[in-house]
């Protein structure tokens, strides 16, 4: 595997989908290549950053609308 192949296999590796020889060569390459380790760290930070994105709170208007729909249905039942 060259760096390009390692980069292409990042998500497969992360998701546990690399098997056998591919998995071995991936791990071997990462072990000897600081550039690919730096790339893997970039991906890891990207994913952690996405996970840490603050959630938008729904506006009061949109909550009130949904609650009104809820009450209407309850009344109809």
């Amino acid at each position: 595997m060259m760096c390009r192949d390692v980069v292409a296999a990042t998500t497969d590796a992360e998701e546990g989908a690399l098997k056998g020889w591919r998995r071995l060569s991936y791990r071997f390459h990462l072990g000897i290549c600081p550039f690919c380790r730096a790339h893997a760290a970039q991906v890891e930070t990207t994913v952690s950053t996405l996970r840490a994105l603050p959630k938008d709170a729904p506006s009061d208007d949109s909550r009130e609308r949904a609650i009104a729909a809820f009450r209407n249905r309850k009344r109809d039942v």
Partner: protein, 194 residues
């Protein structure tokens, strides 16, 4: 009593809880297809109506969250088609030449170290670049990254919602994350290095 039973019992607090937990996700998912925050809000509202109408028939084979996400995405796709927006089944990706690699596929230079997620998110310019990066993703990639990385869905749940195979899901997740990684790299480089 669990949330589903409380909802079926007509418990308003339970509905508020569900709404607060997932409304923003529905808007975000819908917006990926219709590219309009106000239309996305309409779709999210319609989704809640559909959820309330079908609570009785919900069989609980998937989680509530997965079920709701699927309803919203299906509605968003239908709406996008009706509005004349093309929704490709597969996100087409022209084979790109990645100039980070040399002739033999080796990295030409060491990828830069990123700041911590906390400091990246504290920077307004970077926050804006991430939001834009998400908006610019093709619909499927955007839906997958949103569910997997922003909302914490498992790959199985995402496959279930979008009707994708595991390997297809991985390919699209890889592309989506790759694009956002590149967005961060570019933004940090333009800002004068991390």
């Amino acid at each position: 009593m669990d949330l589903l039973e409380r909802l079926r019992d007509g418990d308003e607090a339970a509905f508020r809880e569900l709404f607060d937990a997932h409304h923003a996700m529905l808007v975000r998912l819908a917006n990926g297809y219709v590219k309009s925050p106000s239309v996305a809000e309409e779709i999210a509202q319609d989704t809640w109506a559909a959820v309330l109408d079908s609570l009785a028939s919900f069989e609980g084979r998937s989680s509530l969250k997965t079920w709701i996400a699927r309803i919203a995405i299906n509605r968003a796709k239908t709406r996008a088609v009706r509005d004349g927006r093309q929704v490709p089944l597969e996100d087409e990706e022209p084979p790109s030449s990645d100039d980070r690699f040399g002739r033999f596929g080796q990295f030409k230079r060491r990828p830069a170290a990123f700041d911590s997620p906390e400091s990246l998110l504290a920077d307004r310019q970077i926050r804006a670049a991430i939001d834009r990066g998400l908006d610019d993703l093709p619909p499927q990639q955007r839906a997958i990254v949103t569910m997997r990385d922003l909302e914490g869905f498992s790959s199985e749940e995402v496959c279930n919602v979008l009707g994708l195979s595991e390997s297809n899901q991985r390919v699209l997740l890889h592309r989506g994350r790759g694009r956002l990684r590149a967005v961060l790299e570019k933004t940090l480089a333009e800002r004068g290095g991390p």
